[in-house]
Subunit: 208 residues, 2 copies
């Protein structure tokens, strides 16, 4: 019952059915601010008043762009995995060396920690499973699918793991990195993240 994920996406900044006239950049600012807030406080900790203040508008104005919190959350999570997929594609094509790309994969998640001890949006939202609207949860799952698919593909291309094992290994790496983020956050110490990644390499989970 796995949802197929197309990694080849054309990354538009607007939905295909709405024509962008001029700068509807308020919508973008809402999306960006909501992502930042949710990376620190989760979906439950995201509220319209603080979000609006961060954007520089009033809370009621958010409803001009999103029907409600559930749809905003889904849009934020979708944008998050879209951006992540684009970054992974860039990482893969940059140098075209699968081993180098794998080596730099943990950096993606490191950036969040480096930015005020935040974590991956979808790691936080995974914890919030019971209180997340369905539309949000499915986007969170797609984020995991995108990352696992990229890791599996790159792992197989690197020749470091047998093709038959690449999927399981990809999932193990993804989960382990999510855990490392969480541990580092709980001490507000990015050094813990770095040490854990080193530990994964030493143990043979991640290619050294």
């Amino acid at each position: 019952m796995r949802q197929a994920v197309n990694l080849c996406i054309s990354f538009r900044r607007t939905d295909s059915n709405e024509d962008v006239t001029v700068g509807s950049n308020a919508r973008e600012k809402i999306l960006a601010s909501a992502r930042t807030i949710a990376q620190a406080h989760g979906y439950g900790g995201l509220n319209f008043r603080d979000l609006a203040e961060a954007v520089g508008i009033k809370a009621a104005s958010i409803y001009h762009y999103f029907p409600g919190k559930a749809e905003l959350g889904a849009a934020v999570a979708r944008r998050y995995w879209e951006d992540s997929a684009a970054a992974l594609e860039a990482l893969a094509s940059d140098g075209a060396d699968p081993r180098g790309a794998l080596r730099r994969y943990p950096e993606t998640f490191r950036k969040a920690l480096a930015s005020d001890n935040r974590i991956c949006l979808c790691s936080f939202m995974a914890a919030e499973y019971d209180d997340l609207p369905d539309g949000v949860m499915s986007e969170v799952q797609t984020f995991a699918d995108v990352n696992v698919a990229w890791l599996s593909k790159t792992l197989a291309a690197s020749g470091l793991v047998q093709a038959a094992d690449s999927d399981a290994r990809a999932r193990a790496i993804f989960a382990a990195i999510a855990g490392a983020q969480l541990m580092a956050r709980s001490r507000a110490d990015i050094g813990i993240y770095d040490a854990l990644i080193d530990g994964y390499r030493a143990a043979g989970l991640l290619p050294a």
Copy 2:
């Protein structure tokens, strides 16, 4: 700046300075229900009305046992790692085989998933770092310390890992298991957890 953790604790169910007359079991029920709720909804998702209803009392009555939400949260987290430390001690002395104990370590966390897709209280609370009162956060950190100390000790005793590396390996295992829990929860599928643990063993992170 690491807090020393004494693993040898006498596990009393009451504070030493209060003499237990008869069954003050309401306090215990509050603690147990709060733990269960927080494992599914986090500290932020824990509220007095739902908690009181689960216990069978009124919300205001909780204040008879705890000064406020922060102290309740800290008491819940403290009890959580106390129980966890006792369970680990039992696991270690059961059979007295370090390798067997290590093999069964992931079962501890598996139980939470098997119980309505809940996760380790402290994994959830680690994500909530920014919104957690200090007293709660330090108990959460102690939970990690207790687990890492047990893993490190058992790893070293097993002879599977060099003593110099046991601490780093312990941390890696703990973080990886936390991540595995999160991934399984996000799909409400305990099979994902089992597969990830198998993957960790296959990759050499966990002893097979």
